[in-house]
């Protein structure tokens, strides 16, 4: 037997990394990833988590993230690197709550069985035995399962405030203490079952709340991409190496390929290309840049490879300025108080007052302190916000599940409350009203028998225009033609031979563009026969944009456009859609406009995707972003919608309003039951049996009412 030295790595350098793969839909995808990925070089295992849409890859330690993403690419999946470990921590918190719920549920069921035999007439010695067994089960169970509430109540008391958990903890501790006394003294009524049932129902509410937050967040997290995870750094000897973006230094020279996003601000040293700034400014037309020009992080290099000398990294980048604006913007939203918290601020003092009143009332009436205390305890248990604690989370979990099935990822419950209040919609143009990617115009001009060649050419390049062409042809279901001698020449195009003929997809010459010059991007296709075909690319409106805006107006949310693009481009779109629009707005302008709206007492819904929309998304009352948005946009938005259609907007508003309607009904049901039961408790009519019946009935009614929301997002 040999032992490894302390400096030797016994794992043989294998590392686990998590990746988001949003496009997993079925069992076939799971099988494909888990079986084919380990066949790729350097990867030893892959494990899919379908709920979180993530894959944990075990790979050799010297593999970089782009290598693994290429391995995913080779088996036909698009993977994105995951940023945070926050979801792991969330999982631990949820698991702790589920464990507490399991224990409280087990104890409640057993104690309830014993309590039923006491209620149905168990006599002196048997009753005493049952009470002792109940005490043995209940005391440790309450000590364990009650901790989330005790901790929270203690924190609130230390800060000299109250929350929902204060009366809960008080009722549970008082019930257990008094029941212990009754058990020892051989008394008639013990409340162990009530205390445990209370904990079980409330923990169920907490688990649902936490589950919804975790699920929606992991769904959104799965879509979060880094703008640019790194870049190819050139060293002094002419070699190049992949470097993560936080390891870049000022003065590094980077090689930026066509179709790559910049990871740092810099000055172009060699090469000339055009850059897509839409993520940063909303400007739709590409901007040309030559040696000596400045390029900023987050922009997309469209045409040709360039070398860039880094001038700013990390916090000094232009992007970081936007991040600072966002931080100041999101402070206003933290002032929003959720409905449940507003309710508890009124509810908690009232409950305490009632319990105190009944205690003093019975003391004055001449009852002993023991009986007075029991009446006060009955009031506390009856008023304990069992149904109230379930009223909001159950409705929101059911609604969010329905919305998730409809392609709307809700980040947290308060987003639904705020969305239900929205009374106007402000939309970004590029990437929000439009698709934000070039769509080819005139592919009908390509003869059907030549389309396979175009597809073969387009598949040879990663240029954005080639990708767009490939996607447009893909819907027509054309397989690629077998091409030979494929050469991609940066800045020029792709050349190849098909059955002996030269074919090409290339940048059009000036004389081919025809009489009407426009600034739209274009490619020319030489297909061996006839004149070259010129395909132009333009950003297209999202399908159903018109209908979605009409539906928003019908819901009482008049829409308008707020864009960073040129005024003329905005005017064209707003004329097509028949809504007001304003162009040439910087991120700070958008934010200021929204803040002015909020100050005027309105509740704007902001829909945007770009980095430049980040501050506005954070400043608005509620915000939504498409799944194609930048990571900043997705993080700042409350709700992310999947797919190209804008119909998700009115659908989300309708679902949010339906949810709040049901939540309000739940409050009425829960409080109505309290109004009936509290007088009974105050005159001492409530026994443990009555309390158990009342508590479970009201909770079940609230849950059943919330389940009506299952079809809310249709």
């Amino acid at each position: 037997m040999t032992y490894l030295g302390p400096d030797q790595d016994w794992t043989k350098g294998s590392v686990e990394t998590r990746f988001a793969v949003p496009e997993m839909h079925c069992a076939g995808c799971i099988a494909k990833i888990e079986r084919l990925l380990p066949e790729q070089p350097g990867i030893s295992a892959a494990r899919v988590n379908f709920s979180g849409k993530t894959v944990t890859v075990t790979h050799a330690g010297d593999m970089a993230e782009p290598d693994i993403i290429r391995a995913f690419d080779a088996i036909g999946f698009e993977a994105q690197s995951l940023l945070s470990t926050a979801s792991v921590e969330r999982g631990i918190a949820l698991r702790r709550l589920i464990r507490a719920l399991g224990i409280a549920g087990f104890a409640a069921m057993n104690v309830m069985l014993l309590a039923v035999s006491v209620w149905s007439g168990a006599e002196s010695s048997a009753r005493s035995l049952f009470n002792w067994i109940s005490a043995l089960i209940a005391v440790p169970a309450v000590a364990y399962a009650g901790r989330p509430f005790f901790d929270s109540a203690l924190r609130a008391l230390r800060a000299r405030t109250t929350n929902m958990d204060v009366p809960i903890s008080l009722a549970v501790l008082l019930a257990v203490g008094l029941s212990l006394y009754e058990t020892v003294a051989g008394g008639q009524h013990v409340w162990f079952d009530g205390a445990l049932m209370l904990l079980t129902f409330l923990l169920a509410g907490r688990v649902l709340d936490e589950m919804m937050r975790g699920r929606a967040a992991s769904g959104a997290e799965a879509l979060v991409r880094r703008t640019a995870p790194g870049a190819m750094r050139l060293d002094a000897h002419g070699g190049s190496q992949w470097v993560a973006s936080d390891a870049l230094r000022v003065g590094d020279r980077l090689l930026i390929a066509a179709g790559e996003r910049l990871a740092a601000d810099g000055i172009i040293e060699t090469g000339a290309s055009r850059f897509d700034l839409s993520l940063l400014t909303g400007e739709s037309a590409p901007v040309a840049a030559a040696p000596g020009d400045i390029a900023t992080a987050g922009t997309l290099n469209l045409d040709a490879p360039v070398t860039l000398r880094v001038t700013a990294v990390g916090e000094a980048r232009t992007i970081a300025e936007i991040a600072r604006l966002m931080e100041s913007a999101s402070q206003s939203r933290s002032r929003f108080v959720r409905l449940a918290d507003r309710a508890s601020h009124l509810y908690v003092p009232a409950v305490h007052l009632l319990a105190l009143l009944s205690f003093t009332g019975w003391m004055i009436a001449g009852a002993g302190w023991h009986q007075s205390l029991i009446v006060a305890l009955a009031v506390l248990i009856i008023t304990c916000p069992c149904a109230l604690g379930l009223a909001v989370p159950v409705a929101q979990v059911v609604a969010c599940g329905a919305m998730m099935r409809a392609g709307l990822l809700v980040k947290d419950g308060s987003a639904l409350e705020r969305l239900a209040q929205a009374d106007e919609a402000v939309l970004d143009k590029t990437g929000t009203l439009t698709l934000g990617r070039p769509a080819p115009h005139g592919i009908e001009a390509i003869p059907p028998d030549r389309r396979a060649i175009v597809r073969g050419l387009a598949m040879a390049s990663r240029h954005p225009l080639a990708v767009a062409l490939r996607q447009a042809l893909g819907s027509a279901d054309v397989g690629p033609a077998p091409l030979t001698d494929i050469v991609e020449r940066p800045g020029v195009g792709v050349e190849a031979r098909f059955a002996g003929q030269a074919v090409a997809m290339r940048r059009p010459r000036a004389d081919e563009l025809g009489a009407d010059p426009d600034d739209r991007a274009a490619v020319a296709l030489d297909l061996g026969t006839g004149a070259p075909i010129v395909i132009r690319f333009a950003d297209a409106l999202r399908p159903d944009a018109r209908q979605a805006l009409d539906e928003l107006v019908a819901l009482g949310l008049p829409a308008r456009i707020m864009s960073g693009d040129r005024d003329e481009a905005v005017a064209a779109i707003s004329a097509t859609l028949g809504i007001a629009g304003q162009g040439d707005m910087r991120p700070a302008d958008k934010m200021a406009l929204l803040e002015a709206e909020i100050a005027a007492g309105r509740h704007p819904l902001m829909v945007g995707d770009g980095l430049n929309d980040g501050p506005a998304l954070a400043a608005a009352h509620v915000s939504m972003a498409p799944a194609s948005a930048s990571d900043v946009g997705q993080q700042a938005a409350d709700i992310v919608f999947l797919g190209d259609s804008l119909l998700g907007l009115p659908r989300a508003v309708r679902a949010a309003r339906a949810t709040m309607r049901v939540v309000r009904q739940n409050f009425v049901l829960a409080i109505g039951y309290n109004i009936c039961a509290v007088p009974l408790a105050m005159i001492g009519m409530v026994t443990p049996l009555v309390a158990a019946l009342a508590m479970s009935t009201s909770s079940i009614i609230v849950i059943a009412n919330s389940l009506r929301l299952r079809g809310a997002a249709r």
Partner: protein, 49 residues
């Protein structure tokens, strides 16, 4: 009464074993991927892709 002395521990033991099974399944990660578990049953091991 003698019956009770036997039955109550039996009932409690059965309940406890259920609780133990639940805690074990929680710890071994069976609740981590609820949607995936329902999909995996459809995967055929000798399937040719």
């Amino acid at each position: 009464m003698n019956g009770l002395l036997l039955l109550i521990p039996v009932a409690l033991l059965l309940g406890l074993s259920g609780l133990g099974a639940f805690l074990w399944s929680l710890r071994s990660g069976q609740f981590d991927d609820l949607d995936g578990a329902s999909m995996r049953i459809l995967i055929e091991d000798d399937e040719i892709i």
